[in-house]
């Protein structure tokens, strides 16, 4: 299944689940749960940090953190 780190800028997706439980706990406490939609707004130099827009908040995520988030992309 696709993970968030593989997504290109400007595309949107929906979270399916999380691979890393600690990260999941953090994100869920912020209201980001399976089913939440997201858009990759931009990436930093060298594509190492992601600027992700969720319906209610924006987050900075490291690439390896994004790799722990399973998504299904929306067309």
């Amino acid at each position: 299944m696709q993970t968030l780190d593989q997504m290109k800028i400007g595309y949107s997706a929906r979270i399916v689940s999380f691979k890393e439980p600690l990260l999941a706990s953090r994100l869920m406490a912020m209201g980001i749960i399976p089913g939440t939609e997201l858009v990759v707004l931009r990436k930093s130099l060298m594509n190492s940090t992601y600027f992700i827009q969720f319906p209610r908040l924006a987050l900075a995520l490291r690439k390896d953190e994004a790799a722990q988030i399973l998504i299904e992309s929306e067309i």
Binding site: P21, L22, L23, A24, S25, R26, L27, M28, A29, M30, G31, I33, L41, R42, K43, S44, L45, M46, S48, T49, F51, Q53, P55, R56, L57, A58, L59, A60, L61, R62, E65
Partner: protein, 700 residues
């Protein structure tokens, strides 16, 4: 602070405007201390609560849930679990951002299940409304069974109603935990309650999640809970995730029932600003330019106030000499304490300006973007995007810079930041660099327009910063940690900073600087004054005679200055300077520099003053005269010039790397809670300084 009967705690997620509500409630009646045993800021205060009189209030650091991931968050959880080291909380003022009300309510439901009385303050209703989100506060109050009060942290609207609600609910509310435990959660919570005295069943469950790091339960209780988790096969993380899902399923429909909403994404203005400020390339360029502007401001705006402070202290010294009779006591006051304090307090304007500008960048939401842009670069050196803020602050003074590392949640990254921050060239090094550059570097232009002296000056900053990164990388390789490093950082909406909060913050930082640096400098300047003013009797006598003889031959230098110079040589400090000469000779230094190295051991800015005394320049800031004297100084044995290009550069490198600041040592000890780290830091910086100085003397 008088003891008040009730204690209110403010809680909520980060970035909901909790501090502005706290400032509105308490005004200047607030203090910042530490939570017991940890270096997490504990803001507390008192305010008038209707007929209940004065009540105390504590502003708990923001957190997302009772499943903590940083030290700040852990402290809040401990406090809410009823840590015996803090006063019991009678009611929680829970602040939410209307725009994010559903996800903000997760923690609310958890806190309520701990058995607390709660009043919810709904902040930023105005921006929510302009985003198209209408919220029915009465509906929410009915659904959740506690009052939801609309408040505005900027204008103060609704604060009176919020206070009234707190006053009423503190007396009448009956807490209603309503979490539905799964069978396995119920089992373990009940078993925990059988051993640990804890009222709420949910608190027992939270204890089962975090027992390993809770400070107020005993070792045997921890072991007991450990066996329970094994017995029930209690997988903490999975259970946490299930719990949060259950809570959202409870919250979301209730919020939807009471709000009318058109789907919203990020505030359009924030999106537009971010397009520029977080741009891959331009974003970084803008950041660099902003930082240059901040530095420019620190030095140009602070110039005049620094002069005022200096002349103020000169005035105080004059006053003392007229009021106190000429005696050892007068000289202790003037040469010891007053000049020691003035050397430190003169940096207040720079520190205030730096923190004023940094608070604006923080409050507006920009710093979160800086972290986003720099995190990956800083991580290569074992640092964190947040370290950038501390390293920049280090350009003014390491003391507040080291305190600002508290926002870094990963301990290893925080420690590394603390360890390398003093390598960033602070403002106390500037006078030293200035005089040495004037001696050693010709006032030439490179390529016709760049001043060579300015280039060397900048080179020293670059060298300090570069070394800080390399040392950070080495620490990163040596230090081991089990703790996972996360970024996962919220990029909040941009907003206009609130001046009230900014000024409170600046005042707080300046106060800490005065207290931390002041108390260290006070004692050390007395000690150093003694060492530099007293010596073996016959030697001191001989020094005075020698000065008189020399004055009889030539009156170029006033007798008082000659006497001071020879007395310093004969003093205990002078003897020590002579004693270390063999050690520092490879770096090109003579015993006179040795004396200055020793007297500036506690605060590097003392170097120039000591050199002025040794070379009998007098107390006035006569830099050009000092420069001449230094340029003509010769070794007493070989007759060679002391201040060659090599020696001068070597000294600059020495002062760039050496710790030479006891106030920093004291702060590092406080922040790391041990003597181990400040000692390691002093040692490695000392080695760098010696080796660097020696290499410089060899090369140049």
């Amino acid at each position: 602070m008088s003891f008040s009967k009730y204690q209110v705690a403010l809680s909520g997620n980060p970035n909901v405007g909790k501090s502005s509500v706290f400032n509105l409630l308490t005004g200047l009646h607030q203090t910042v201390g530490n939570f017991p045993g940890v270096t997490v800021d504990r803001k507390s205060g008192v305010f008038q609560l209707g007929n209940l009189g004065k009540v105390s209030i504590v502003d708990l650091p923001g957190l997302y849930s009772l499943f903590p991931s940083s030290e700040d968050e852990r402290v809040v959880v401990d406090t809410l679990l009823g840590s015996p080291s803090s006063a019991p909380i009678d009611i929680i003022g829970y602040i939410v951002d209307a725009n994010d009300i559903d996800r903000n309510l997760l923690l609310f439901t958890q806190i309520r299940d701990l058995g607390y009385k709660i009043v919810v303050g709904v902040n930023m209703l105005d921006t929510a409304l302009s985003n198209g989100l209408q919220i029915d506060l009465n509906g929410l109050s009915d659904s959740f069974g506690v009052p939801f009060i609309g408040i505005n942290g900027r204008t103060g609207e609704g604060i009176t109603e919020f206070k009234t609600a707190l006053e009423n609910e503190i007396l009448t509310q009956i807490s209603q935990p309503n979490y539905t435990f799964s069978p396995s959660e119920e089992q373990i919570a009940k078993d925990v309650q059988s051993l640990v005295k804890i009222d709420a069943q949910y608190a027992a469950l939270i204890l089962a999640h975090h027992y390993k790091r809770v400070p107020f339960i005993s070792k045997s209780q921890k072991d007991f809970i450990a066996t329970l988790t094994e017995k029930y096969n209690f997988n903490s993380i999975d259970i946490q995730l299930d719990e949060m899902m259950k809570r959202y399923q409870f919250i979301t429909p209730l919020v939807q029932k009471s709000s009318k909403q058109i789907p919203l994404s990020m505030d359009p203005l924030t999106r537009k600003i971010d397009k520029v400020l977080t741009h891959k390339v331009f974003g970084l360029l803008i950041f660099v330019v902003l930082m240059l502007l901040v530095f420019q401001a620190i030095f140009s705006w602070a110039e005049k106030p620094m002069e005022w402070i200096e002349s103020g202290f000169v005035g105080i010294n004059h006053l003392i000499t007229t009021v106190v009779p000429d005696s050892w006591f007068q000289r202790l006051l003037t040469d010891g304490i007053v000049s020691g304090l003035s050397g430190v307090l003169v940096f207040i304007p720079q520190i205030a300006i730096l923190f004023f500008l940094i608070s604006i960048l923080e409050e507006s939401g920009y710093m979160a973007r800086v972290v986003y842009m720099t995190d990956s670069f800083m991580r290569r050196f074992g640092l964190n995007g947040r370290s950038v803020v501390s390293l920049i602050s280090g350009g003014a003074c390491a003391i507040p810079a080291i305190m600002s590392t508290r926002t870094i949640s990963n301990w290893k990254e925080r420690l590394t930041t603390i360890m390398v921050t003093p390598l960033i060239s602070c403002s106390a090094r500037i006078p030293i660099f200035a005089i040495l550059i004037a001696i050693a570097i010709p006032a030439k232009k490179v390529g016709g327009w760049v001043s060579l002296q300015a280039l060397v000056f900048m080179g020293l900053y670059v060298l300090g910063t570069g070394t800080a990164l390399v040392v950070a990388w080495i620490f990163h390789k040596i230090l081991k940690t089990e703790e996972k490093s996360f970024l996962v950082m919220e990029l909040p909406r941009y907003q206009m900073p609130q001046w009230r909060g900014i000024f409170l913050n600046v005042w707080e930082k300046v106060k800490v600087f005065i207290v931390e640096a002041g108390k260290v400098i006070f004692f050390i300047s007395i000690l150093l004054w003694f060492l530099a003013s007293y010596g073996p009797k016959e030697k001191m006598e001989a020094a005075r005679t020698k000065a008189k003889q020399e004055y009889a031959i030539s009156q170029d230098i006033p007798l008082s200055q000659l006497t001071k110079s020879y007395e310093l040589e004969a003093s205990y400090a002078g003897i020590a300077g002579h004693a270390i000469e063999p050690l520092i000779r490879p770096l090109g230094y003579d015993w006179k520099i040795g004396i200055a190295l020793l007297t500036s051991f506690a605060a590097r800015e003392i170097f120039v003053g000591t050199m002025a005394t040794i070379y009998a320049v007098g107390d006035d800031d006569n830099t050009s005269l000092l420069k001449d004297r230094l340029q003509n100084a010769r070794f007493s044995d070989s007759g060679k010039k002391v201040f060659t290009v090599g020696t001068s550069i070597s000294l600059m490198i020495f002062y760039l790397f050496a710790m030479q600041c006891m106030s920093t040592v004291a702060v590092v000890r406080r922040e790391t809670k041990s003597w181990k780290w400040p000692m390691i830091q002093m040692l490695y910086m000392g080695v760098l300084a010696y080796v660097g100085g020696w290499l410089a003397a060899l090369i140049f």
